[in-house]
């Protein structure tokens, strides 16, 4: 039982990060129909940026803030310089553009930062808290707490603010949104900016646990994507549930079956979901957007 609980804790911790990456995917996909493979690189920028700024002597909270702003700028540039000029391209071309962007960001990151693994000190110490025979790190609580706070904040933003509603309107029908006077270009940029911020924040809180390096973004992106797809593409609640589910399955797979194939779990789940539930657990509106 204690072992089970331990696996649940570690699964929920990683799952919360996958959920945040999936949330970023969902936001951009809803607003612009683009699947952004560079989403995981925002996580890397948040983590690596904080590590290097903190090493330069800047206080941790300020370093994190600057890194997150940096990721937002990268997100906005990605939209402005790569996605906007390619308007009307096919899904495959858009995938290749964001993959190209992801490779480019990694290439720049290994020049600006370095190729080593880095960590951050845990925010509230390393003393494990005992819960029902298992233990949980304070940093895990930070990860889950921040994920929950971001999810609630995003929900309130989308449902209660005019700007958020404009984003939802753009997602539902871009032409109609433009007709009622919404500046669609700004909304799309907003989606990329918010998405980058979510990814970077996830990167900051998870770095003390999982470490970071210039190329960690690929696996975060692929697993976050699996999470978004399991939940049903375009559904924010689905993204969160999908993320936690993939995190848990990964932890159980590593704990009870084999840790060698931990990274395969997400892909096996993707394939099974695509074969048997092509619209995800929470059923997207349509498989193919015409």
């Amino acid at each position: 039982m204690a072992e089970f609980l331990q696996l649940v804790f570690s699964g929920l911790t990683v799952g919360a990060v996958y959920a945040l990456v999936a949330l970023g995917f969902t936001l951009i996909y809803n607003a612009s129909d683009v699947i952004n493979f560079a989403q995981g690189d925002f996580v890397m920028i948040g983590g690596m940026g904080t590590v290097f700024l903190a090493a330069a002597g800047i206080a941790l909270p300020l370093a994190a803030l600057i890194a997150i702003v940096g990721a937002v700028i990268v997100g906005l540039l990605l939209h402005k310089l790569a996605i906007e000029p390619a308007r009307g391209a096919s899904p495959v071309a858009l995938i290749m553009i964001t993959i190209g962007a992801s490779i480019f960001i990694k290439g720049i990151a290994q020049l600006v930062f370095d190729k080593q693994f880095h960590s951050l000190p845990a925010f509230s110490g390393d003393t494990p808290i005992a819960v029902g025979g298992a233990t949980i790190l304070p940093q895990s609580l930070w990860v889950m707490g921040v994920a929950l706070a971001l999810f609630v904040a995003l929900y309130l933003f989308l449902e209660k603010t005019l700007l958020g509603k404009a984003l939802l309107a753009t997602a539902a029908n871009r032409l109609a949104a433009r007709l009622v006077g919404i500046n669609v270009t700004i909304i799309l940029a907003l989606a990329f900016g918010v998405s980058a911020a979510i990814g970077a924040i996830a990167g900051v809180v998870v770095t003390p646990i999982t470490l970071t390096r210039y190329d960690v973004g690929t696996l975060f992106a692929l697993k976050g994507f699996a999470a978004a797809m399991v939940g049903g593409m375009g559904n924010p609640l689905g993204a969160v549930v999908g993320g936690l589910l993939i995190g848990l399955l990964e932890a159980f797979g590593a704990g009870y079956i084999s840790s060698t194939y931990k990274d395969a779990v997400a892909f096996v789940v993707i394939l099974l979901v695509l074969f048997f539930l092509p619209r995800g657990l929470f059923g997207g509106r349509s498989v193919e957007r015409v």
């Binding site: 699947i35 790569a82 000029p85 390619a86 391209a89 899904p91 495959v92 071309a93 995938i95 290749m96 553009i97 993959i99 190209g100 962007a101 992801s102 490779i103 480019f104 960001i105 990694k106 290439g107 720049i108 290994q110 020049l111 690929t218 692929l222 994507f225 699996a226 797809m229 593409m233 060698t260 194939y261 990274d263 395969a264 997400a266 892909f267 096996v268 993707i270 394939l271 695509l274 074969f275 092509p278 498989v287 193919e288």
Partner: protein
């Protein structure tokens, strides 16, 4: 007249044969032949993707997985079972084709993003298996591939491999061009334009897509086997995600659906890192930038754009 000539099958083959024949005359050292041989091998793998992506319009982001199957077949067969490498190349191609047949059935029902992700996941799982089953594959460091002996003649050296890979590319290009002009090729191009219309005209859409996927896998496996035998080494990276992306980038940069485009795209992405060795640190950034720039500014690819420009000048 000129238009007909530029788009004829024979012209493509003659031009390709001329290039393969001329390169050794111009190459200042064996090193250049070696790079050229790598270009021919990747062009062969890219040709398989040209049939799948260019003709049939189906994307595969896990194609390097099949490359890995061909490579590891040539490495494991002689080492573990004492089989002849040439036989292993055939076995690897058959295995890749069989796997593509089994996996392709459910995967090819998917479209757009979903197909991209499913093939990507499939490729990553294959790479992970090559990485982890170290008693067979040597794990992350990969494994040595025994030197090939054909009819008592030891196949080694850049010159020999240059002609073997060049010959394989010629055969591959000839088959790809003929597939393009066959009823199956026309069916693939029809379902590329509209699956509904193709099905309406009596084309068995899922069978044709599956055929393209299997052919593409066999091309990649043969290329992977040649690459492993030529290098004398195979590592799990050969089957990795980045390799799959590079293969897709070759096809798109060269020109989607153009046989000569696959060769141009492969040459571009193989030669470029060699030319940029003096700025090795920037290699990844340059590759990412090029993929983005080509997708945005030259979505049709090099060869079709050049051909269009030439035709406009001539007419």
């Amino acid at each position: 007249m000129a238009g007909k000539l530029l788009s004829s099958r024979l012209a493509t083959l003659v031009l390709l044969a001329a290039i393969i024949a001329v390169v050794p005359l111009l190459a200042p050292s064996a090193f250049y032949l070696r790079v050229a041989a790598v270009v021919w091998v990747f062009a062969l793998a890219a040709l398989g993707l040209t049939i799948l992506m260019g003709y049939a319009g189906q994307v595969s982001l896990g194609h390097a997985g099949f490359l890995g199957i061909g490579g590891y077949a040539v490495a494991i067969g002689p080492a573990q079972f004492g089989l002849h490498p040439a036989l292993c190349l055939v076995i690897g191609a058959a295995l890749a084709g069989l796997l593509a047949y089994l996996v392709g059935r459910p995967i090819l029902k998917l479209k757009g993003y979903y197909l991209a992700i499913a093939t990507l996941g499939f490729g990553v799982i294959l790479a992970l298996i090559f990485h982890s089953e170290s008693q067979w594959t040597g794990g992350p460091d990969g494994m040595q591939v025994a030197r090939v002996t054909l009819f008592g003649w030891r196949l080694s050296g850049a010159v020999n491999w240059y002609w073997v890979t060049g010959g394989a590319l010629m055969i591959g290009a000839w088959i790809a061009l003929n597939i393009g002009a066959s009823p199956t090729g026309r069916a693939l191009k029809a379902l590329h334009d509209s699956e509904v219309a193709a099905a309406g005209s009596g084309i068995d859409v899922s069978a044709k897509k599956l055929a393209a996927f299997v052919i593409g896998a066999v091309y990649a496996a043969v290329a992977g086997g040649l690459l492993a035998a030529m290098n004398g080494l195979i590592t799990p990276d050969a089957a990795g995600f980045m390799h799959s992306i590079e293969l897709v980038a070759m096809v798109i940069i060269g020109g989607l659906g153009s046989v000569f485009g696959a060769v141009v795209g492969a040459a571009f992405l193989v030669v470029l890192p060699q030319a940029l060795t003096f700025m090795h640190d920037y290699e990844q950034a340059v590759l990412g930038f090029l993929i983005m720039a080509f997708m945005i500014f030259l979505p049709a690819g090099i060869v079709p754009t050049l051909r269009k420009w030439l035709l406009e000048r001539l007419s």
